[in-house]
């Protein structure tokens, strides 16, 4: 079963095209990351799915059915910012959410403990820090133990400990069989917690699929010697190298993921009569990968 299917969604704000022909599908049991820089349309997309925005054209389905408010009750959602009544405390706010979701109020203490807000449950929302507000929003989405969760930038405003906790929580929820749809502009966050990813840029879906297929990172070996052009032509013959690139003080060799062996590179050069002055393996950064993905589709 697909939890969410998006079909040719378009959204215009006046002349601005926020979403252009976006189609993809979220399988059950996945952690589905929607990755994209600020303003790429992530929140617009989730807003349409939650019926707070109207699509200009295109359709979407929830649980393989035409979407209604009853589907939304089975989905815990944090969209863009924590939205609560500033003058009410945590418990009063969650009671309102629980009433709308038609869930009992007995869950409230439990979800507040999950996000470490139990001690402050009688403080007014307006007295909370940004991180606490974010955690209350996550608590609210967990009310009634829904099988599907939608998180828009869930670690926004959290400190490093809070970020780690939320990521752990997301993984734990996924292990319990829940499907999680998560929008983020943080590439390493998506890489750490997601099983699938869709990449949005300027409203267009660039690519989508399994994280291991999309965010594969090549191995890069940096090598340096006295005669760099000679080094480059020599290393082009090294078995397994995909391509080489001159980069300032050294030559860069690109290998398929986890195939680069520094020892063999060193021996190869030595056998060819070149003494290396520099040799280093580095993983291509995810950011570089992301730029590559997004640059090709301008």
């Amino acid at each position: 079963m697909a939890i969410l299917t998006v079909d040719r969604l378009h959204k215009n704000y006046g002349r601005i095209q926020a979403l252009k022909d976006v189609s993809f599908s979220v399988p059950q049991g996945t952690v589905y990351g929607i990755l994209g820089p600020n303003g790429s349309g992530k929140t617009t997309l989730l807003g349409i799915i939650m019926d707070v925005l109207k699509a200009s054209s295109g359709t979407y389905q929830l649980f393989d059915e035409a979407p209604t408010h009853l589907h939304r009750r089975q989905i815990g959602t944090l969209l863009e910012t924590p939205n609560f009544y500033h003058y009410l405390n945590a418990v009063q706010n969650l009671k309102i959410a629980a009433t709308i979701k038609k869930r009992g109020h007995e869950d409230i203490d439990h979800v507040l403990k999950l996000v470490n807000l139990y001690e402050r449950k009688h403080s007014r929302f307006s007295t909370y820090s940004l991180g606490m507000k974010q955690r209350l929003a996550i608590a609210s989405s967990l009310l009634g133990n829904p099988d599907v969760l939608v998180f828009d930038e869930p670690t926004n405003g959290l400190d490093p400990v809070g970020i780690a906790e939320i990521r752990e929580l997301i993984k734990k929820l996924n292990q319990q069989g829940k499907t999680i749809i998560m929008a983020s502009h943080l590439l390493d966050e998506v890489e750490k917690v997601c099983t699938h990813v869709a990449i949005l840029q300027k409203g267009s879906l660039i690519t989508h699929g399994h994280v291991d297929e999309i965010l594969v990172t090549e191995d890069v070996v940096e090598a340096g010697a006295m005669d760099l052009p000679l080094l480059q032509t020599t290393l082009q013959q090294f078995p397994g190298v995909l391509h080489t690139k001159m980069n300032g003080q050294h030559v860069e060799l690109f290998f398929a993921p986890n195939t680069a062996l520094l020892e063999s590179v060193n021996r190869f050069c030595f056998d060819k009569g070149i003494t290396l002055s520099h040799l280093r393996l580095r993983k291509k950064s995810l950011e570089t990968k992301f730029f590559e993905l997004t640059q090709n589709n301008k």
Partner: protein
């Protein structure tokens, strides 16, 4: 229906500004009637003045059955207060984005806007009950005539008027979304703009100004003293037409408010 109103109550019952405004409102209705009551008592202190008033108006202003019309008329000047309550309630949702969250959590857009309409109706009912109690109290306190429901229809008109004033507030709140701006427009419209247009229409269009949205409900409860002087320039109010006009406007407020909220991006 009950659940929607219940949720609105959960939102309001811990909101201090709501209680302050509501207390002010109830005190103002009693207060403004008391001031008018005292003013008439002093103006009509002599038996001669009383006879004059009775001859012109038929009854003394705060005696039964005149008191129903009198209290409804005087209290109607306080109707901007429940209007403010509704504007605050709606624009708060916009600024906290809780209108979005309510829908994300599983309300339909209609659930949300109906809950605000129910708030408007509840405030109108509360206003009408308050006016009824206040009028009865002053009628008995004045005591010159026996209890009578003869002019009680004005309390019914007051309900229409209250609902109209409050629904206009709701419509403006949904249209402009921002609290300060909505309050500004509400006051500008109810106090200045409509009155200017009304006067112009009355002058050029054969008194058509009385059919302006809020004016049509104002006309339902004419100034108790002037009405009976039968100023020849003013046509006598045609209650049936005015009621129908007021109901048409009310239906328009409900439809427009729902349409705007259900069709737009939130």
């Amino acid at each position: 229906m009950v659940q929607r109103l219940q949720l609105e109550w959960m939102k309001m019952k811990n909101y201090r500004a709501f209680w302050i405004l509501m207390s002010l409102y109830l005190v103002s209705i009693a207060g403004v009637n008391y001031i008018t009551f005292r003013a008439f008592q002093e103006a009509l202190a002599s038996q001669q003045a009383k006879n004059m008033a009775q001859m012109v108006m038929g009854h003394l202003p705060y005696s039964f059955p005149m008191v129903w019309q009198m209290t409804a008329f005087v209290s109607s000047f306080m109707l901007f207060i429940p209007g403010l309550v509704v504007i605050m309630s709606v624009t708060n949702e916009y600024s906290y984005k809780t209108h979005r969250q309510n829908i994300i959590d599983g309300w339909t857009r209609r659930d949300f806007i109906v809950s605000k309409m129910l708030l408007a109706i509840a405030l109108s009912v509360l206003s009408t009950i308050t006016v009824t109690i206040t009028a009865a109290a002053f009628g008995f306190a004045e005591g010159s005539e026996a209890f009578s429901l003869e002019k009680f229809v004005f309390v019914g008109y007051f309900f229409l008027q209250a609902l109209s004033y409050i629904m206009v507030a709701l419509l403006i709140a949904v249209l402009v979304k921002r609290g300060g701006l909505a309050i500004g427009i509400y006051f500008m419209y109810t106090v200045v703009i409509e009155n200017v247009i009304k006067s112009i229409m009355n002058y050029y269009l054969n008194n058509a100004g009385r059919f302006m949205p809020l004016q049509s409900t104002d006309e339902l409860i004419p100034t108790p003293v002037l009405e009976n002087l039968k100023i020849p320039m003013l046509p006598a109010p045609d209650y049936t037409t005015l009621t129908i006009v007021a109901l048409i406007y009310l239906a328009a407020y409900f439809v427009l408010t729902a349409y705007k909220f259900e069709k737009d991006d939130l």
